[in-house]
């Protein structure tokens, strides 16, 4: 969504870099972008549309960026046997299609990815910018019902897809040639927006060097509370870790049972929390050394108000990724290969500037 500034660099280059491979189509999905993408395609890519190399689709329905939904639409529209997903900022590299074809001819039941989830190669570290790249058989994509559309924001939908493919015995094959993993570098603001507008305050209760409890107060009177864990420093007093690497997939995680949610209300000098699934909690609000703190009525815990913008961004970023990651982890632990309950990638689209709607 709204990535024309990158697409105008990558798309012509990608088409050119693969012109020696005949049996190939480029699908571009305009996911309701508001950046003159349609006009640019019309003015600059018509030749490729006319010769059938490029198929341009547009949907006007989405109001926000949902990577799983967008990818599901595009993948369903693809007519080939093998689908290669590339983001607007990704370059294919020269003769990428030949490379993919060769690997799929040599290996049966594979998915190509730069995500080394099982850490099979310690020195393999592709940039985060390309982790969404994937080459998959359309048959396998449909079998697991595509990307999990509960993941309606940036992050982990591609990890999840590959994990679920492994559950149906599709083998993960790493894209080891970095020629095919080139990209345009850009900042995270283009990837996801942090919900700072909805936020009233963040409070932290420091438990230990590797665990802290956080409360997020939102302007609509909702709250979320959970214990954050730094897996990198966990149990550091145990001397076994002097010589045994820790086993964890991600540096940070959220302790079970996840986010506790409910409503909050400010009353005079205290805040009353009404969790959805447990009894009410009351915290006394105080000022200490110029800081706002919340003290549990039985004095067992103190929450400190977080005011540093950089730290707020760090916490919100963690929270953003925890959301999609939790879904991925639930799919992994529950061995849920198939998701979306039969409904995925649904949309009304328009092909090549034509007025007739197509229901996907």
């Amino acid at each position: 969504m709204n990535r024309l500034h990158q697409l105008r660099q990558t798309l012509p280059q990608n088409i050119k870099d693969n012109e020696g491979y005949d049996d190939l189509e480029f699908i571009v999905l305009n996911y309701n972008s508001h950046d003159d993408m349609e006009q640019w395609i019309k003015e600059n890519m018509s030749e490729h549309i006319l010769n059938g190399r490029l198929k341009y689709y547009k949907t006007t329905e989405p109001v926000s960026w949902s990577p799983s939904h967008a990818k599901n639409i595009a993948y369903k529209l693809a007519t080939g046997e093998i689908i290669c997903g590339k983001a607007a900022d990704n370059f294919t590299g020269k003769n990428f299609a030949h490379y993919v074809n060769e690997l799929f001819n040599k290996n049966t039941d594979i998915v190509l990815t730069p995500i080394d989830f099982h850490r099979s190669k310690p020195d393999y570290q592709p940039a985060n910018d390309v982790l969404g790249e994937v080459c998959i058989k359309k048959h396998d994509f449909l079998k697991i019902e595509g990307f999990d559309e509960r993941m309606d924001r940036y992050g982990f939908e591609d990890y999840d897809l590959i994990n679920r493919l492994e559950m149906i015995d599709v083998k993960r094959l790493l894209i080891e040639d970095f020629t095919y993993l080139q990209y345009i570098s850009h900042n995270n603001n283009e990837r996801y927006a942090l919900p700072t507008d909805d936020l009233r305050a963040i409070y932290i209760n420091y438990h230990s060097p590797s665990t802290s409890e956080a409360i997020f107060l939102y302007k609509d009177s909702r709250f979320e509370k959970g214990v954050l864990v730094d897996n990198f420093t966990k149990d550091a007093a145990n001397c076994v870790y002097a010589y045994t690497p820790r086993k964890y997939h991600f540096e940070y995680s959220l302790n079970e049972p996840g986010w506790q949610t409910g409503t909050w209300i400010n009353e005079n000098d205290h805040i009353k929390f009404s969790p959805d699934s447990s009894k009410k909690l009351i915290f006394i609000k105080q000022q200490k050394d110029g800081q706002t703190i919340l003290i549990d009525t039985d004095n067992s815990s103190i929450f400190y108000s977080i005011t540093d913008n950089k730290l707020i961004d760090t916490i919100l970023t963690f929270k953003h990724f925890i959301y999609t990651r939790s879904i991925m982890e639930a799919n992994l632990n529950g061995k849920n290969a198939v998701v979306n309950k039969g409904v995925f990638g649904k949309a009304t689209v328009y092909k090549n500037f034509q007025p007739q709607p197509i229901t996907v």
């Binding site: 932290i204 420091y206 230990s208 060097p209 590797s210 665990t211 802290s212 956080a214 954050l228 730094d230 990198f232 420093t233 550091a236 007093a237 145990n238 001397c239 076994v240 870790y241 002097a242 010589y243 045994t244 690497p245 820790r246 800081q291 103190i302 400190y304 108000s305 977080i306 540093d308 730290l311 760090t314 916490i315 963690f318």
Partner: protein, 277 residues
């Protein structure tokens, strides 16, 4: 072989005691130890990273010994505690001072043929120990120590890398031009005026052959290491990359912050211009 990952958390002003009264005795009487390195570090609190090299089969025993030894040391040494001021500038609180922690950086397995890759780091750690074990360590001491090391490196690099000093001097000119514009360069300029005379003295000690005998033993050892490494291949291109590698060695072991690094670079460039070296 394996490098054990050990972190000793203690207030910086206690680091010299920790090095002289705990690290040195532990290392000197330990049969399992094939070598060790030390690095200053500030992640999750002020700490010294002590990497212990041992054979893989001895790793569990050495880790247990280190755990017991340093815990006992911290219990009996009477080192001052660092007061924790909440909220901290992070999601998690730092580790308590005067504690030993493990695995805060990855333990690393190596084969014997790769041991040579660590020889610089092993030697550098010994120099850190000798130079810093006697006095209370603070930012000023670290900065002065780093100044000695970098100037020594420049002296020993110059014969094989003649362009180096000119490159550094030419870098100093634009720095001087912006000195009144950014807050950082203003601080650097002010601080430089404050310490200029001392830095000139140190530089003359290093570069003047007649004064060299008065230099500390650890510094002479550093000069030998620099000379050996800089002369290893004899060509200027390789010498420039070795120079950068050794600069990075100093920065990594001393955990110089960006601010300190910028100040140090400014001092060195100015002194080279000033002394017309």
């Amino acid at each position: 072989m394996i490098w054990l990952s050990v972190s000793l958390f203690s207030h910086k002003n206690q680091w010299n005691k920790l090095l002289s009264r705990a690290v040195v005795p532990f290392a000197s009487k330990n049969a399992y130890l094939n070598g060790f390195t030390i690095e200053f570090n500030y992640l999750s609190g002020e700490n010294i990273r002590l990497s212990l090299l041992t054979d893989e089969e001895n790793a569990p025993e050495l880790a247990k010994l280190a755990d017991k030894y340093f815990n006992n040391y911290f219990l009996s040494a009477g080192l001052s505690e660092q007061e924790l001021k909440l909220p901290v500038n992070g999601i998690f609180i730092p580790f308590p001072s005067n504690t030993i922690q493990f695995g805060l950086y990855p333990p690393k397995k190596i084969t014997a043929d790769k041991l040579d890759n660590y020889s610089l780091s092993l030697h550098f750690s010994q120099i850190m120990l000798y130079a810093l074990k006697d006095d209370v360590i603070d930012d000023e001491i670290i900065l002065t120590f780093a100044f000695y090391l970098r100037m020594g490196l420049i002296k020993m690099a110059s014969p094989v890398y003649p362009q180096l000093v000119n490159d550094l001097k030419s870098r100093a000119i634009p720095l001087n031009a912006v000195s009144s514009k950014t807050a950082e360069s203003k601080i650097n300029t002010l601080k430089f005026e404050e310490v200029k005379e001392t830095l000139i003295e140190i530089t003359r000690d290093i570069f003047d052959v007649d004064r060299t005998p008065h230099l500390p033993v650890w510094f002479k050892q550093w000069m030998v290491i620099c000379k050996e490494n800089m002369n290893k291949y004899g060509d200027e291109v390789t010498a420039s990359s070795i120079y950068i590698k050794m600069l990075s060695l100093i920065d990594t072991h001393l955990a110089l912050s960006t601010k300190m690094d910028s100040m140090l670079t400014y001092f060195i460039d100015r002194i080279l211009l000033y002394e017309e070296l």
